[in-house]
Structure formats: structure tokens, C-alpha cells
Chain length 132, copies 2
DNA sequence: TATTGACATTAGAGCCACTCTCAGGTATAA
DNA sequence: TTATACCTGAGAGTGGCTCTAATGTCAATA
């Protein structure tokens, strides 16, 4: 069983965020010890991982909450949950493409600056000039 | 020359955001017509693209502003700008890896649900059970 | 035994980056 | 000349943290 701090370190999410998520009802199953301290099981960690996954792909907190509620409702919500995960994956794939495009642009500019520095040329990329 | 609306459509950023960015000093070079309406040149569009790029990789507005100010200062800031772009690219590459991991997890779960639906099995993924 | 330090808890204020609403200005078209 | 389709700025509202403050538990040390 892990405290908030340990979960925070294991999964690289701030304690603040974990408490905020807890307050938002993302972890209805996490137990407390006699001093009211949250104890996450290994299985709970997997849940946190899913929340991280959904959030990092830009699913808003309300929808994350809804997904969790569907899980708790059990088998009869499987199709709905399937669709949420599928749509989320599709969204993530789009983001991946977008990110690749941004990396290309950044690489282009990195290269551009490298050349400028090496060749000691003037910068032709400034408010008054064009990219290409 | 393009109005805010046209830029918004071309680059898929809301007019609100563009105005917000303008107010934040991200486009000090954009001209206005006699009615005070912003007119973006093709070159300005490239600037907006860079801002989109930096923002979408999570560079905060203050740092975006700083980068723009460095550009305006001209040649003597090239090395500093190079480092900003390089660090941003590295950050983006990390995000790419992270995103790929998330997509893997989503695919795993998608598959899991698909099987459940096809085989009409019970859901073993719920608060009380483990992922594997 | 008292206190120090490392942990935990909550409520709630503050912050960032939008996002939206509003009131108002201009230009063309019916 | 009124409708529409734009544009403008100011400023309120929102989401999702992020941080602070006040408080509590417990183990170790002076």
C-alpha cells in the first residue's frame, strides 16, 4: 500500500494533483488508515495510470469522472466504456501527428539557427523577414 | 493580408485566443487598417505558427513573450534563441514518447474491451480487480 | 518528557491560459 | 435604413491545477 507521496513519486504526478483528483472523485475505492491517511493498492495505481492517460490526452475532468462512474456500474457499461477508450485513442493518434509536425518545425528552426551560428551569418528570421 | 477570422480559420486557433495572444504582446508587428482592424501578412502567419508550436509543446506565455522579444533584439540573441528552440524540441520529443506510451495503454484497453464485447465475457477490469 | 521533523489531512485562495459575453464601431447589401 | 457580418476592447467566468495555512499523528532525539 502506498501513501500519496509514494504514488506521486512512482507515477510522477504532484501530491497536490492527486489530492485534487481524489477530491474530484477519481479514486472512490482508495482506502484510508486509522489516521485518515490514503493508502493506494497496486491495483489503485493502475487506476491512477488510466486517469493520467486520459488527462494527458486532454480528456476533461468531468469526462474522466464519468468513465470512472461507468466502470463502477459494471458489465452493462462495457460498450460505452469501449467507445470512450476508442475515441480517446483516436484523439491521441491525432495529437501524435500534430506533435510530429511541431517537432519538424522545431527541428527546421534548430537547424536554421545552428547554421547561422556556425557560419556566423545574419539572422534572416525576424519580424520583418520570412521563414523560407 | 488576413483578418483575425481568416487567421483563425487557416491555423485552427480561436479568434479569442489570437486576440488574447495579441494583447499578451505576441504579435507586436501586426499592422492595423484605418479602422483599427488587425491585418496579418503571410510572414505574420509564420509567426503565429511558431507561437502555436511553442504553446502546444507547453512553453508558457511568459517564455513565448521572451522568445519574441529576443527575436526583435536581432542577431546578438541568436545563441539564446537557438537554445530555447533546442530545449523546446527536446521537450517535445519527450512528450512524443510519453504520448506513444499512453497510446499503447489505450490500445491495450481497447483490445481488452473488444474481446469482452465479442466473447460476451464479464468485465474483469473494475475497481476491485487488476489490469493484468 | 518535551520538542523537533517528517509525514499526512482539509479548506480555500491564487494563478494561468484561455473562453465567453457585452457594448459598441464600421462597411456593404437589400 | 435597417439588417448582417464583420471587427474592436474590457472584463467576467471557467477549468485545472498549484500553493498556503492550519491542524494532526507519530517516531526519534535532547
Amino acid at each position: 500500500m502506498y501513501t500519496i507521496k509514494e504514488v506521486s513519486e512512482k507515477l510522477n504526478v504532484s501530491e497536490h494533483t492527486l489530492r485534487f483528483w481524489a477530491k474530484s472523485g477519481f479514486f472512490p475505492f482508495v482506502k484510508r488508515d486509522k489516521n485518515n491517511i490514503r493508502l493506494f493498492s497496486d491495483n489503485d495505481l493502475e487506476w491512477v495510470r488510466i486517469v493520467i492517460c486520459l488527462r494527458s490526452v486532454g480528456i476533461d475532468n468531468k469526462s474522466v469522472k464519468k468513465y470512472i462512474e461507468l466502470c463502477i456500474l459494471g458489465d452493462k457499461t462495457i460498450k460505452e466504456r469501449y467507445l470512450i477508450i476508442k475515441n480517446t485513442k483516436d484523439k491521441a493518434l491525432k495529437q501524435l501527428k500534430e506533435l510530429q509536425k511541431q517537432i519538424e518545425l522545431l527541428s527546421y528552426k534548430e537547424n536554421f539557427y545552428e547554421k547561422l551560428i556556425n557560419e556566423n551569418l545574419k539572422d534572416t528570421w525576424n519580424p520583418m523577414n520570412s521563414l523560407k
